[in-house]
């Protein structure tokens, strides 16, 4: 992810890569292969933060390092692009929000769909009433492969010589060298945040951007480890239900999330917004299917005796005069598709937005508060799943209600 971020960053004009940090030596070697031998490389990120010639950092470590490095970087005067989820624990959220406020630095969280023209289009359509009153949002991410299930490759030269194991562990519990836990860190609660932190966060970010919602009031999640039993301690099937309260012009609605890493048919992800007058889906593009509501309610009178049926129909037709069937009376069922230009990359756009803010000092949309409001309910989903508990969440104050 970090190298991908850097490619997108370097595609922006006037952005130069100065230094790279990783706990595995091989990745520092790789960085020099990619970006030149004059690159400064280190196993200790603090050597980067103390340099005066660096304006901004991309934090793409395992999740358990996100908050700490992001805060230290802002305190060292750097602007920060931090991968999602912004934090590993809910308790780290307030510190990030406070640090951003105090330092005045730009902090953008790396859920790129917040800068996507596809999501902007979806937002515009919903704001314009394309589907009437929203009542339900479903979002899903189905995968069915080893790589999709985080079985990332281990380098054959992984050793205590090439890896700074203690630095990787950081505040996580001490344990002896086991490279699997570094290279597949998403599989372990000590370093990652499971499917909720990796993928629910994207779905919350997209949802909050499109609807203007700031978070649910209730969180319940369930699921289990059904297939990828490779020693991981996180589920590979996870579903969540979330209650969103009415806010501004947006009515109360329900959210249903699903991630399945054992989807025996296909790999895909998307959103479905159901409203009183249509359905909007978001995937690679946006689709709106409109269904105008019925012009009369219809009737169920077959169980009434004949005179009562006749009286019913007389009154019904008084209230709803029979429209003579004409071509005009055929209800329009439209489906509109909006596709981004070929080759469009929201990842590039998200980095463009970040560096624009770095230059203009204008705040980004996906700031620490936005990141907290997306990561909070996602991380709460993990606790709900493992503790089998329903949680009340205060989306305004960003804390668990007791």
């Amino acid at each position: 992810m970090g190298m991908g971020d850097t490619s997108s960053a370097l595609a922006q004009t006037g952005v130069k890569l100065t230094a790279v940090c990783d706990v595995y030596q091989g990745r520092l070697t790789r960085s020099r292969e990619l970006w030149g031998n004059d690159l400064f490389t280190t196993r200790d990120y603090r050597e980067i933060l103390s340099r005066k010639d660096i304006d901004a950092v991309v934090v793409a470590t395992p999740d358990h390092w996100h908050a700490r490095i992001a805060i230290e970087a802002m305190e060292a005067g750097k602007d920060v692009y931090v991968e999602k989820p912004m934090m590993q624990r809910i308790s780290e959220g307030p510190g990030l929000v406070a640090a951003q406020k105090k330092t005045g630095r730009i902090l953008q969280v790396g859920s790129q769909r917040v800068s996507s023209i596809v999501y902007q289009k979806a937002k515009d359509l919903i704001d314009a009433g394309a589907i009437g009153e929203l009542n339900l949002v479903e979002a899903w991410w189905d995968r069915n492969s080893a790589i999709g299930a985080w079985q990332y490759s281990l380098p054959p030269d992984a050793s205590t010589e090439t890896i700074d194991w203690d630095h990787f562990l950081g505040h996580a519990p001490k344990r002896s060298f086991e490279p699997l836990r570094l290279f597949r860190w998403r599989n372990y609660k000590d370093y990652g945040t499971g499917v909720a932190g990796d993928l629910f966060v994207h779905l919350f970010s997209g949802l909050h951007f499109i609807t203007g919602a700031i978070g649910p009031t209730r969180v319940l999640s369930t699921g289990g480890l059904r297939f990828w039993k490779d020693g991981r301690d996180v589920p590979d099937v996870m579903l969540g239900l979330y209650d969103y309260p009415a806010r501004g012009k947006m009515p109360a609605f329900n959210l249903a999330l699903r991630v399945n890493f054992v989807n025996g048919a296909s790999e895909n992800s998307g959103f479905r917004f159901a409203g009183s007058e249509g359905v909007l889906t978001v995937g690679g593009g946006v689709t709106v299917s409109k269904s105008p509501r019925e012009s009369e309610p219809g009737y169920t009178i077959d169980t009434f005796p004949k005179p009562v049926r006749e009286e019913f129909l007389r009154r019904h037709r008084e209230k709803y005069p029979q429209v003579k069937a004409t071509a005009d009376a055929i209800r329009p069922l439209t489906e509109e598709r909006y596709n981004p230009p070929r080759g469009y990359s929201d990842h590039l756009d998200h980095h463009r937005v970040f560096f624009e803010s770095v230059r203009s000092r204008k705040p980004v949309v996906e700031d620490a508060v936005f990141g907290f409001r997306a990561a909070g309910p996602a991380l709460l989903s993990n606790i709900s799943q493992s503790d089998q508990k329903l949680f009340d969440w205060d989306p305004e104050a960003m804390r668990i209600r007791s």
Binding site: L136, I147, R226, L239, L241, V279, P297
Partner: protein, 424 residues
């Protein structure tokens, strides 16, 4: 226990208790079965008794009091198609009176009624079949065969939904213009429900009120559970959580019009542990009603509706793939050497293209699950071999469905013991 006295060629005389849309529909299907005759009808609204005579002849015995039907010796079986709060009381009395019973779903109005119904059936020795016709649908029986044969590998998730978007779909049934205290036996409608003054909308749209109906859970989740239990052989979940809201049809009802549930199924001999996700949306934004159940497994997905089963299978990948772009060039080369020693490169050939099949199974056009379900009921009476959708099956589907209502209204997850069929 009483002896079943009906044999293969005997006529079966039935009565209908509750002559609304569902009851009259049931009766039409019942009367297509050879040897089945309708003898009597009961309803609390006189208009429906008149309608029954219009449809089935003036000689039909009609009454507002179902007990007059249970007392008749010439009636072998009854269809109970009343509002939900009357299902269990009438079913138990009918069994005790020696009648076979076809009881509409859900079998019960509250979970506590379940065990007494099971006991009543046992004691009577009569056939009790619950009216969720998916249990007789060839699509679901085909899906069951496919599931048992391992077509989708290891099951991990089931999703089921029913989306509607019309006034009638949302239970805004018509109210007869002549409805009055003269032609409606209001107290008999109320039964065990709280006393309240005459208000015909509560009778004709009883599904909208928890006092008589069971909301989307009792009307529709029950069907979804029936389909899922039929296919998987599951006995029931251990935990139920439901949420939703009344979003659109704010006509005075006290039941939600959007309801979602997440349900945990434990491993049994018939299936691995899986998660069930249920959805009913009466404000779906769709032009047409949509219904389906998706069974997701490690090697395929099976989608079932009343009209078909679609099986999409994807064999699992033959090698895990790799993500080595961040390793140094020399390490990448070393990795690939070791990887290819373990997973020899298959020469790309036409054979190497992975088959991704979708198979679709459709029952014959003549098959109607609802009619089949009635045929199965009368076959069960004649052969004295009950259909599997019996009282226990009915509690195992209605129990967790009704617990969704408990979870929704009490705003908490609810635990259930599927073996003993009791709320924990």
């Amino acid at each position: 226990m009483q002896q079943n006295t009906i044999s293969a060629n005997d006529r079966i005389r039935i009565a209908l208790i509750g002559c609304g849309g569902m009851g009259m529909g049931d009766t039409r299907f019942a009367l297509t079965v050879p040897g089945v005759e309708l003898a009597a009808c009961a309803d609390v609204y006189d208009g429906r008794l008149k309608r029954a005579k219009e449809l089935w002849g003036e000689s039909l015995f009609t009454t507002r009091d179902y007990r007059e039907i249970l007392n008749r010796k010439d009636i072998d079986a009854v269809i109970v198609a009343t509002p939900d709060h009357w299902h269990a009381p009438i079913t138990m009395q009918a069994l005790a009176a020696g009648k076979h019973v076809y009881c509409e779903k859900p079998m019960i109005h509250s979970v506590s009624e379940g065990k007494p119904v099971i006991a009543a059936q046992k004691q009577s020795g009569r056939i009790l079949q619950i009216g969720s016709q998916y249990a007789s649908s060839l699509s679901f029986l085909k899906a069951r065969d496919l599931f048992r044969s391992g077509a989708i590998g290891e099951l991990n998730l089931v999703e089921a939904w029913l989306d509607r978007n019309t006034a009638r779909g949302a239970w805004q049934y018509s109210i007869p213009p002549d409805a009055s205290e003269q032609n409606i036996d209001w107290d008999r409608f109320l039964g065990k429900a709280p006393k309240r003054p005459f208000e015909p909308i509560r009778l004709f749209r009883w599904r909208n009120y928890n006092d008589y109906g069971t909301g989307v859970a009792g009307d529709l989740f029950v069907h979804l559970y029936t389909g899922i239990h039929t296919v998987t052989g599951a006995l029931g979940p251990t935990r139920v959580f439901a949420t939703g809201g009344l979003r659109f049809w704010k006509d005075g009802r006290d039941a939600p019009d959007v309801m979602l549930a997440l349900i945990d199924y434990p491993r049994t001999a018939n299936h691995p542990e899986f998660t069930l996700s249920l959805k009913v949306n009466f404000v779906s934004g769709l032009a047409a009603e949509s219904f389906g159940i998706r069974f997701v497994g490690s090697e395929g997905v099976m989608a079932t509706t009343v009209g078909s089963v679609t099986l999409s299978r994807t064999p699992r990948e033959t090698e895990p793939g790799y993500s080595i772009g961040t390793f140094a060039k020399a390490v990448q080369e070393q990795f690939l050497k070791e990887y290819r020693a373990k997973y020899p490169q298959a020469n790309p050939s036409a054979d190497a293209i992975r088959p991704e099949k979708t198979e679709r199974y459709q029952p014959p056009a003549s098959h109607d699950a609802h009619r089949e379900h009635h045929e199965n009921f009368y076959r069960a009476i004649r052969t004295n071999k009950p259909h599997f959708e019996d009282a226990a099956f009915g509690l195992r589907t209605a129990g967790p469905a009704l617990l969704s209502n408990v979870s929704y209204f009490e705003r908490r997850p609810v635990l259930w013991d599927p073996q003993t069929m009791t709320a924990v």
